[in-house]
C-alpha cells in the first residue's frame, strides 16, 4: 500500500467529513495568531527601532578619533547603503572680540539619514522641519549661543581662518542627544568648508563619523562584515548601544511583544493538545478497523501522522495568509502613529508561522497519534477497549521539547523563556494535583446534593481523566492570559510612570563649586525644584582587584569601550531616590569616611566587577583605591542625574569636581535659563525636551502595539475555551441522551451543565490567579524590573470570569444536545 497516497486520500475525506476541523481551526488560529503577532511585532519593532534610530541619525554609526578607513565607505557604497559623513570637534568661535567654546559638527549632504532637523529662522520664531543643510559659507547655531556671543541671525562669525554667516537656529538635531554630556553648544557647518578653517591638524581632537542606513538585512550584513574586520580604534553603534533610557524602553517593549506572541502559542498548544485527544478518541474505531483489516501498527501511525502533518501544513499555510491579512489591517490602523513609513513585512514571520504549526503538532499531537497505533484490533468487538495511554515520559518530553524550542525561539530571551516554562510546568503539576483532589472531594459531595447539583457534580467526578484535562487546559489558558494582562498593565503603568510630565527636561553641567550656591538660589527664586546639585568627577578605571583594565581584557565591545573611557563619578551620603541597592549595603552616616564605592549593576556585569572588589581609579593624575560596598540598579529612563560609580564623601570629597543638576523647566520660564547662562557663562545648559518627546512617542506607540497584540492572545484564549469544552463532548452526548431517555428534565440538565462548567471554570480561574501572581512576581523582579504588588481584585475577577466564561460557553455548546430528541442522539452514539 502506498501509505502516503492513502493518507492523503483519508485526509481529503477527513476534511470533507469535518473530522479534523476542530484541530485544524485550533492550529489555523494558532498559526494565524503567531504569524500576525510575528509580522506585526517584527514590523513594529523595526519601525520603533527605526524611529529610535533617530538618536543616531542613522541605523548604524561608526566613529573614530582617526579618519575612518576608506574601505568602510567603499563597502557601504558596494552594499548600496545610504551614508553621510560627519565630524565633531570642540573649537572656539569669534564674534565682535567675544569668544565662545562650541562643539562643531560638520556634515555632508544626506545628513541626517534617520530623523529630521528642525530649525528656527529667527529667535522666538516657530520651529520647522527642514530637509536642507547649511550652504557653503553658512553656519547654523544653537539658540543658547546667541546670548552668549551677543549675535543674531545674519551676523558673521569666525571659525578658525574662515568667516561664516549665521543663517538658522538649530532647535533639534536627531543625534544631538547621543553624547549628551560631552556637548558644548552646537554649531553646524558644511563638511566641505572645514578644510578652509584650517582647524584640523594631525593632533586635533576630532571625532570622525560615518552614518549608515539601509534595510535591516543590509545593516546586519554590513555590521557582520565590520565585526569580522575587527578594525582597531573604531566604535560601531546601533540604536541598542546608543542610549540606555531608549534601550531600556525598547527592550521592555520588545520583551513584552515577544511574550505576548509566546502566550498565543501556549494557548494554542493547549487547544491543539485538547483537540488531538478528542481526535484520538474519535479515531480509535478507525484505527482498530485498519488493524483488523491488516494494517500494521507502523502503517496506522504513519497514516495518522501523515494525515495530521498534511492537515498541519494546510492549516498553517492558511494561518500564515490569515496572519498576513490581519497584521496588514493592524498596521493600517496604527501606521499613521509612526513618523516613518512602517517597514515591509519580511519572510521570517511566514516561515516562523509554518514551523510553529508543525512544531506544535509534533509536540502536542504526535504522542496522541502514537496512542492510535496501540489501539487493540479487538476494539471492533469491544468498544470499551480505548487506546492505551502512552508513556507519560514520552508525552511530557515531546510537549516540553516543543514548548521549550518554540518559547526560547519566539521570546528570544532564554531567561524569560525558562522562567515561563518552569512556571508553567509547576502550574501544570499543581493543576493536575488540584483536579485530582477536586474529583476526590466531589465524589462524596454528590451524594449530599440533589437535582442539577447532583448531576453536575457527578459529571465532574465520574470522568476524572476528562475533568483533569479540562481543568488543566482551562487553568493553563487562564494563567497565561492573566499573566499577560498583569505584565501588560504593569508595563504600561511603568512606562507612563517612567516619564511623568514633570520629568527633568534640562541639564546644567560644568557648574563650578563656587557657583553651586548661586545657581541653587537662582533656580529656587525662579520656582524651579531640582533633586539637588551633584558633584561630578572625571576618572578612568585602572584596575579591578589589582588586574589592569584595558580593552584587551574584554570581548564585549561595550566593555571594551567602557574600559578606555573616562567615567563620570560622583560622591554622595545618600543614594538617589530612583536607585535600588541590589547587593551589599549603602553606607551609614558613620561610614562616610570609608574608602568605598557603589557601582551600577549593569556596569558591574559588563566589566566583571564583583561585590567587594577593589577598584582603582585615576582622577586628575592621582590614583585612588576603594572597595565595592554595594551594587545599584538605576532607572536610566527617569532622566534624573545618575552615575555609574559613586564614592563615599571621604573617598572623593576632596577631589576636584564640577556639579551637575537636572530639573523640569516649563516653557513659560525659559527666560530663566537665559539669565542663568548670562550670569554663569561657563555652565553648559542642555535642553532634552525634544529627546523626551521622542522617548515618549516611542513609549506611546509601544503601548498601542502592546494593546493590539493582547487582542490576539484573547482570540487564542477563546479557541482554547472551545477546545476545552469539546473535550467532554462525546461523553456529554451519551450521558445527555441516556439521562433524557430516563426522563430527566431539560431544565435540570441545562442547570447541571451550567453548574458543572461554572465549577470547572471558577476553580481553573482561582488556581490560575495564584499561578499568574507567582509567575508575574518572578518576571517583574527579574526580567522586567517592574514594581509588583498582590492584586486581590484580579483573583476575584479570575474566579468570576472563569466561572462565567466557561459556564456560558459550555452551556451554549451543550444546548444542541438538549434540543435534539434522545433517540436521534442515541443512534449516533
Amino acid at each position: 500500500m502506498n501509505t502516503f497516497h492513502f493518507a492523503l486520500r483519508l485526509l481529503r475525506r477527513d476534511w470533507r467529513a469535518g473530522e479534523l476541523r476542530l484541530l485544524a481551526i485550533a492550529l489555523l488560529i494558532a498559526v494565524a495568531s503567531v504569524t500576525s503577532v510575528g509580522f506585526f511585532t517584527d514590523r513594529i519593532e523595526r519601525a520603533m527601532a527605526r524611529q529610535a534610530s533617530e538618536v543616531l541619525a542613522a541605523d548604524l554609526r561608526i566613529e573614530s578619533n582617526q579618519p575612518l578607513p576608506e574601505l568602510l565607505l567603499e563597502e557601504a557604497q558596494r552594499g548600496q547603503l545610504q551614508y553621510a559623513k560627519t565630524l565633531s570637534f570642540p573649537s572656539v568661535i569669534l564674534h565682535n572680540e567675544q569668544t565662545q567654546l562650541v562643539q562643531v559638527k560638520a556634515v555632508s549632504p544626506g545628513y541626517p539619514l534617520r530623523g529630521q532637523m528642525r530649525v528656527r529662522d529667527r529667535v522666538n520664531g516657530a520651529d520647522r522641519v527642514t530637509m536642507e543643510l547649511p550652504a557653503s559659507g553658512e553656519v547654523w547655531l544653537e539658540e543658547r549661543l546667541l546670548p552668549l556671543l551677543d549675535t543674531a541671525i545674519g551676523d558673521s562669525i569666525k571659525l578658525g581662518k574662515r568667516s561664516f554667516r549665521v543663517s538658522r537656529i538649530i532647535s533639534y538635531e536627531p543625534d544631538r542627544s547621543a553624547n549628551l554630556f560631552r556637548l558644548a553648544p552646537r554649531l553646524l557647518v558644511p563638511i566641505g568648508d572645514i578644510d578652509e578653517t584650517g582647524l584640523l591638524g594631525p593632533a586635533s581632537r576630532v571625532r570622525h563619523y560615518l552614518l549608515l542606513a539601509g534595510s535591516p538585512m543590509q545593516m546586519d550584513d554590513y555590521r557582520a562584515w565590520v565585526d569580522r574586520l575587527d578594525i582597531s580604534g573604531i566604535e560601531v553603534e546601533d540604536i541598542r548601544s546608543a542610549r540606555p533610557e531608549l534601550r531600556s524602553a525598547l527592550d521592555q517593549g520588545g520583551r513584552f511583544l515577544r511574550l505576548a506572541a509566546a502566550t498565543a502559542i501556549l494557548l494554542c498548544m493547549v487547544a491543539v493538545a485538547l483537540s488531538s485527544r478528542r481526535f484520538v478518541e474519535r479515531q480509535s474505531d478507525s484505527s482498530a478497523l485498519l488493524r483488523c483489516l491488516g494494517a500494521s501498527r507502523q502503517q496506522v501511525i504513519q497514516i495518522f501522522t501523515l494525515r495530521l502533518m498534511g492537515l498541519g501544513l494546510i492549516a498553517s499555510l492558511i494561518g500564515v495568509l490569515l496572519g498576513l491579512g490581519v497584521q496588514s489591517l493592524l498596521i493600517n490602523l496604527i501606521g499613521h502613529w509612526f513618523t516613518n513609513q512602517i517597514p515591509s513585512p519580511t519572510a521570517w514571520p511566514l516561515l516562523s508561522g509554518l514551523v510553529t504549526g508543525i512544531l506544535v503538532l509534533i509536540g502536542f499531537s504526535l504522542p496522541s497519534i502514537i496512542r492510535l497505533g496501540k489501539v487493540s484490533p479487538l476494539r471492533v468487538f469491544r468498544r470499551h477497549l480505548d487506546a492505551p495511554p502512552i508513556s507519560y515520559l514520552l508525552s511530557v518530553a515531546a510537549a516540553l521539547l516543543s514548548l521549550s524550542v518554540l518559547l526560547i525561539w519566539q521570546i528570544g530571551d532564554d531567561k524569560l523563556a525558562l522562567r515561563l516554562i518552569s512556571g508553567l510546568l509547576a502550574g501544570l503539576v499543581i493543576l493536575l494535583l488540584i483536579s485530582r483532589l477536586l474529583v476526590y472531594l466531589l465524589a462524596p459531595l454528590r451524594n449530599l446534593t440533589s437535582g442539577s447539583w447532583r448531576y453536575g457534580l457527578a459529571s465532574l467526578s465520574r470522568n476524572p481523566a476528562t475533568t483533569s484535562i479540562q481543568l488543566t487546559g482551562f487553568g493553563l489558558g487562564f494563567t497565561v492570559l492573566l499573566l499577560l494582562a498583569i505584565v501588560r498593565v504593569d508595563l504600561l503603568a511603568s512606562w507612563q510612570g517612567t516619564l511623568p510630565d514633570d520629568s527633568p527636561n534640562q541639564f546644567l553641567i560644568n557648574i563650578q563649586p563656587q557657583e553651586v550656591d548661586g545657581v541653587d538660589a537662582l533656580l529656587a527664586q525662579g520656582g524651579i525644584t531640582t533633586n539637588g546639585l551633584f558633584p561630578m568627577i572625571r576618572g578612568r578605571l585602572i584596575s579591578i582587584d589589582g588586574n589592569r583594565v584595558s580593552s584587551d581584557s574584554y570581548d564585549n565591545p561595550r566593555a571594551q569601550r567602557l574600559a578606555t573611557r573616562d567615567f563620570n563619578i560622583s560622591h554622595a551620603s545618600q543614594p538617589q531616590t530612583d536607585n535600588k541597592i541590589v547587593s551589599g549595603n549603602w553606607w551609614s552616616e558613620s561610614q562616610l569616611q570609608q574608602p568605598w564605592f557603589s557601582v551600577e549593576q549593569g556596569l558591574a556585569e559588563t566589566l566583571g566587577i564583583p561585590l567587594g572588589a577593589e577598584l582603582e581609579f585615576e582622577i586628575a593624575g592621582s590614583r585612588i583605591k576603594g572597595r565595592v560596598e554595594n551594587l545599584r540598579s538605576v532607572e536610566w529612563d527617569s532622566f534624573n542625574v545618575n552615575f555609574f560609580v559613586i564614592g563615599t564623601p571621604g573617598l572623593l570629597g576632596s577631589r576636584p569636581a564640577t556639579y551637575i543638576t537636572s530639573f523640569y523647566l516649563p516653557d513659560e520660564k525659559r527666560s530663566l535659563l537665559h539669565s542663568l547662562i548670562q550670569r554663569y557663562p561657563s555652565i553648559t545648559a542642555l535642553d532634552v525636551t525634544a529627546l523626551m518627546t521622542q522617548v515618549r512617542a516611542i513609549m506611546d506607540r509601544g503601548a498601542l502595539a502592546v494593546e493590539s497584540v493582547f487582542i490576539f492572545t484573547l482570540a487564542a484564549g477563546l479557541i482554547l475555551l472551545y477546545a476545552g469544552i469539546q473535550a467532554s463532548h462525546e461523553l456529554k452526548v451519551q450521558e445527555t441522551a441516556v439521562l433524557r431517555t430516563l426522563g430527566v428534565k431539560r431544565t435540570t440538565l441545562l442547570l447541571s451543565t451550567l453548574l458543572e462548567f461554572a465549577l470547572l471554570g471558577g476553580l481553573a480561574g482561582l488556581v490560575s490567579a495564584a499561578l499568574a501572581s507567582a509567575i508575574s512576581y518572578s518576571l517583574a523582579q527579574t526580567v522586567f524590573n517592574l514594581p509588583w504588588q498582590l492584586d486581590l481584585s484580579m483573583w476575584f475577577s479570575a474566579l468570576a470570569g472563569g466561572a462565567l466564561c466557561v459556564s456560558i460557553a459550555g452551556t451554549l455548546a451543550s444546548r444542541p444536545l438538549l434540543n435534539t430528541p434522545p433517540l436521534v442522539t442515541m443512534r449516533k452514539v
Binding site: G18, L289, L290, G294, S376, L378
Partner: protein, 230 residues
C-alpha cells in the same frame, strides 16, 4: 508459504484457553477449544450472550491472543507472530462483518469498500470496490455516507467491503443482530450468495438458529466449552 496441512484445514484451533484476571479473581472464558475448518466450509458458532463467541472469533482471527493453546491460520501458528505479523497475515486474506457494521462515518460507501483493497495493495481499488458494491446491489449508493444509508444498506456495504479483496476466510459476528427480521434475512441471503460465489470459508458467530442452519456445521459454545466441534 502455506504448510501442507493448511490446504486441508486453513483455520485450526488446538487446546485454546482464554481467561482474564480481574480484581475479583480469574474469569475463565474459553476452555480447551479444538476446531478445524475445511476449505469452503461455513461454520456457525452459536451460544447465549456472554458465552464467549466473540472472544473465540477474535482469537481465531488473530485479533487477540489466547492464554494458552494455538490457532493456526493458513498453516501459520499465530503464537509465533506478533500483532503486526498477525495483521499482515490477515491483510487481503481475511474479511470481517460486524454486528455494528463498523463503517467509517467520514467515508462514502465506495471509500469504505476501497479500504481493505488499498491496505492489501490492490492495483485498482476503485474498480474492485465498485464491482463489490454492485454485487451487493448498491451501485446507486456509491457516494452515500453511512449516515445516509439504512441499517440493511450499511450491512450490505460491510459485506461488499468484506468480500471485495476476495478473502480466504470471512469472520462474521452477529451480522444480522442489529437488523429487523426481513432486512436480516435479505442480508443473510447476500452473505451466503457472495460466499458461494467466492468459495470463502465462513466462520459465523450468532445466536440465531435460523441463520446458523444455513451453515455447513453448527457448533455450540456453552460455558466456554465448544460442543459438536472438530
Amino acid at each position: 508459504m502455506l504448510q501442507p496441512s493448511s490446504n486441508q484445514h486453513p483455520v485450526t484451533a488446538r487446546g485454546l484457553v482464554k481467561f482474564v484476571e480481574t480484581a475479583a479473581g480469574r474469569i475463565d472464558i474459553l476452555h480447551r477449544i479444538d476446531l478445524k475448518v475445511s476449505p469452503g466450509e461455513a461454520v456457525a458458532i452459536l451460544g447465549a450472550s456472554g458465552s464467549g463467541k466473540s472472544t473465540l472469533l477474535g482469537l481465531l482471527a488473530g485479533l487477540d491472543q489466547a492464554s494458552s493453546g494455538e490457532v493456526r491460520l493458513f498453516g501459520t501458528s499465530l503464537n509465533q507472530l506478533d500483532e503486526d505479523g498477525r495483521a499482515a497475515l490477515r491483510a487481503g486474506k481475511v474479511g470481517f462483518v460486524f454486528q455494528s457494521f463498523q463503517l467509517l462515518s467520514g467515508m462514502t460507501a465506495l471509500e469504505n469498500v476501497m479500504l481493505p483493497l488499498e491496505l492489501a495493495g490492490e492495483g485498482k481499488p476503485e474498480e474492485a470496490a465498485k464491482a463489490a458494491l454492485s454485487a451487493a446491489g448498491l451501485s446507486q449508493r456509491l457516494d452515500h455516507y453511512p449516515s445516509q444509508l439504512s441499517g440493511g444498506e450499511q450491512q450490505r456495504v460491510a459485506l461488499a467491503r468484506a468480500f471485495a479483496p476476495d478473502p480466504k476466510v470471512l469472520f462474521a459476528d452477529e451480522p444480522t443482530a442489529n437488523l429487523d427480521a426481513h432486512t436480516g434475512e435479505r442480508v443473510a441471503d447476500l452473505l451466503f450468495s457472495l460466499r458461494e460465489q467466492s468459495d470463502t470459508i465462513l466462520i459465523l458467530v450468532t445466536h440465531d438458529e435460523m441463520l446458523a442452519r444455513r451453515c455447513d456445521r453448527r457448533l455450540y459454545l456453552r460455558d466456554g466449552v465448544l460442543e459438536n466441534g472438530a
